[in-house]
Symmetry: C2
Subunit: 108 residues, 2 copies
DNA sequence: AACGTCTATCGTCGATCAACGATTTGATCT
DNA sequence: AGATCAAATCGTTGATCGACGATAGACGTT
């Protein structure tokens, strides 16, 4: 008690908690939904199973370019994917990635 | 702002995406763990049930002031709480808030 | 080929984050 | 009181976000 933890470090390795791939993975996925607009987009896609960019723009009080940016962030996280369908792009959620997010959060 | 978007024809019930408190709530909680260091802090607190700030600093490759900032963010999200214990501060997770996060993510 | 539509990207701007060192605050002990 | 240690806050810096308008690219249609 009241002993200075100069020797009793929390981690024996000097690398400390550096090597924690799941922490970065979870942070990355959490970051994807760390904005109300992106949460709504994800929910929209889950509810509709698929949706074009234009529809999403119509559903949100944001400019088209802003929505496109949010979609890009979501795509980079792997939570959603968009396949080109002619002149349009059809977005849908990536179930595996969504499951991974749920698993990581549930495992906290 | 957003005074020019005149209710497009996205959905018969546009109010659905307007007032969406859970989206903001989820975004807020997700934001709290949207950084690897904060994920590690939360895990640390869950694993130890309680932890002093100094211990957390020793566990992370970050300066004390930086850790303190992350703790502040986590505290503001409600995910953790710190009670003053003499000269030190004992941090612990807020189980209710953590449950809420898990529920919101699982409910996606 | 030219046009119109849909989407992505560019450039900009203000606001915020993340990191640090230095300093201040707060509580305990001698 | 004074010394000491723990934690929070201050002030700064560089990087990134979030928003937008404007523009460029891809594709089907005329």
């Amino acid at each position: 008690m009241a002993k200075k933890q100069s020797q009793k470090k929390c981690d024996p390795s000097p690398a400390k908690l550096k090597a924690d791939p799941t922490a970065e993975e979870l942070a990355k996925l959490a970051w994807a939904i760390a904005h109300p607009a992106r949460v709504q987009i994800v929910r929209l896609l889950i509810g509709r199973d698929a949706c074009m960019c234009g529809e999403i723009v119509d559903c949100l009080p944001l400019a088209q370019s802003t929505v496109s940016q949010h979609l890009k962030i979501l795509k980079e996280s792997g939570l959603i994917q968009g396949e080109v369908d002619g002149p349009k792009v059809c977005y849908c959620v990536n179930p595996k990635r969504l499951e991974q997010l749920k698993r990581l959060v549930a495992g906290l």
